[in-house]
Symmetry: C2
Subunit: 453 residues, 2 copies
Amino acid sequence: MKIVKFGGSSLATGEQVEKVFNIVTSDPERKIVVVSAPGKRHAEDTKVTDLLIDCAKTYLQFGEGKSSFDAVVERYALIARELGLPDKITKKIHDDLLASLNGDKRHPQKYLDAVKASGEDNNAKLITAYFKLRGIEAYYVNPKDAGLIVSDEPGNAQCLPESYEALFELRNRPGVLIFPGFFGYNKEGEVVTFSRSGSDITGSILANGTKADLYENFTDVDAVYSVNPTMVQNPKELRELTYREMRELSYAGFSVFHDEALMPAFRAGIPVNIKNTNYPSKPGTRIVNERENTNGPVIGIASDNGFCSIYVSKYLLNREIGFGRRLLHIIEDFGLSFEHMPSGIDDISIILRQDQMDLAQEENIIKRIKQELQADNVKIEHNLAIIMVVGEGMRRNVGTAARASNALAREGINLEMINQGSSEVSMMFGVKEVDENRAVQALYEEFFVGVPV
Amino acid sequence: MKIVKFGGSSLATGEQVEKVFNIVTSDPERKIVVVSAPGKRHAEDTKVTDLLIDCAKTYLQFGEGKSSFDAVVERYALIARELGLPDKITKKIHDDLLASLNGDKRHPQKYLDAVKASGEDNNAKLITAYFKLRGIEAYYVNPKDAGLIVSDEPGNAQCLPESYEALFELRNRPGVLIFPGFFGYNKEGEVVTFSRSGSDITGSILANGTKADLYENFTDVDAVYSVNPTMVQNPKELRELTYREMRELSYAGFSVFHDEALMPAFRAGIPVNIKNTNYPSKPGTRIVNERENTNGPVIGIASDNGFCSIYVSKYLLNREIGFGRRLLHIIEDFGLSFEHMPSGIDDISIILRQDQMDLAQEENIIKRIKQELQADNVKIEHNLAIIMVVGEGMRRNVGTAARASNALAREGINLEMINQGSSEVSMMFGVKEVDENRAVQALYEEFFVGVPV
């Protein structure tokens, strides 16, 4: 049994919905279909979810908002017409949305969640109607009825453990089940949405709960690439990568997947297959617990920028028990999340995303570290990029570090930081932001194009 | 004005003391002479300090201990005879030591400190007598009279800040001043010793207090070597290295200097010259604040073993604010001092000296980390070695990491860890202990012997 999830671009038009229909019905294992709200039809288009947010905000402010309301209904109406669905479908969506918009506004966050969630919910109903029209036994499933109970954190719901057992029962229902993504219900029965990319989360939770054999995630790319295609032309497509590799890559700019979304599927050990709705015959990319090591040591290279480093030095620092802990405590007091902490004998650096701090905070941090830890020197360096070189094959592979650092040295790129030794499947290089693109290209060249070593 | 310190082997025999006399009197800037207790005359010999510890323990247990007492006195008597000093010197040392041994035994640690310190104290008196005999205006200086006041931590005294000002007055005294190393007095006027190599500390404190131009540290080696001579034959001697380089090297097995000893001289910016008492014309090695970069990027390679790594992994770990801090808190609760903390996306490793924990503690640590941090996986890996590649010239030097990791890869040595990015003057490699020697040799070959790159 498979969970099949379709993203917004896969459901943006009637033509796209027909592709979805064909994909689902071509494999009887495709039992549960998780749907997003209709997405963009072209680069300049607006997603239904964004229209709904706009609509909800207008209603919150003015108590009404005809033009944005109409814009949402028109998107569904267009799709319904393209699919040859009767007008009553659009009428139902119109009435449902109006009821949502006229709902309880005492808690703006909850109100917003309810309106946003209607995008997926109405789309699930529309698609169910289309499947039925085409003669398929299909049922819309309401997340509350299915038992998808979540924490009461609007916009950031967490699935409660009891949900998984309840969801297992979906296996026993007849027909194809169309399940709206992006939201669940709190214990009071109110709609609460997941964070962005929440339909991926719904699919992952359902895969875990139903103990599915596979979680197919249909989107608009053929595969996950070995490197960002805007940095390297026609990069290698990946057939298979492990959860760990995906996670390390997604950390640094691989945006195919919202990495938190994978957690429930990962915990249950269920493989994920990323596929393209527009080319469903292509194999796509599988995310698995373990893979055979067929490539070289490296499977992917990712990078991200906007990091800074807080450098702290103090003579005989390494003799002070608790220095690192007290330093991290100060960082935490400012509500900052740190990424890495390379250390020398008499110095420690804290690497973190620089957009977390403004100038005044930076000054305060420096002051506190100097005063409380009696540091000799504290300074902040900005505009660093982190490059992740990732691959299960790197584990115990002699010479990967040498190849990577050689490739960077050949390009004359100075290494601000090397962090290797905790993760067995990644190596991290810190460079200045201005060197980021060249560094990624040099590493791609080394590990994927192949040069004499 | 120079502070000149002589180690135990430089004062082990009358012949050695004569060398000391010649060195001191050959340069009128050599004003203050810090002396250790007589050290080993040959590899199987016992240092006076160790004889004294033995003696004190015997007295503590039995109230007397003639044979060990005689052994100490005989060492001084022999030196006095060799130097042609009158018997009354030996008699005075005999009486002084007996008084120490029959002193207050209510606090065994303080008693031990007083007996140990007599080794340096009596030697300073003996050497003063010899200088006088040779017609030099020389004075024994008692640390209490000079104002060397320390914290009340037997065996681990810390110099109190007020001492430095008091010690400055020594500049105004006439003649050559012979100052016993290794101890000061607490505020109650009791003897308290520094940690081992405490005479180096005394010299460093005096250099700071008197604002000396140079701190000459005479020992039994010609120079600091670029690498451990037991690992590489005839390694390069270093003419000059910076405090930072010394500190990074001394961390990992460079035993010429007890690194804490350098702190007072470092803080005052006073250069240290390590020289050989037996070949005083040789330039030795200077430790300075800044040096000209004449060599290649690397000045020295050091290594140490006996490390272990506590590996902790948890999915989405990097999202948890405070995870690193809480992990370090647990480490600290066990009284453990950690060395490094490399981190991946979903994992952190803590590198620490493994002799700090026994098996039961290791199990408790693993249990607490699993429970309190809900970690997915916690494991401890033993028998790691850390290799430090050090040099001011590495700062902003493109390609040093590549050369180092290449050299290790050529030898087929797997890198367990790379830590670079905080210290600008060092790079750290973690390898298995079994690979330590080969790794050091390969790195020496790369940076000092020179191979085509």
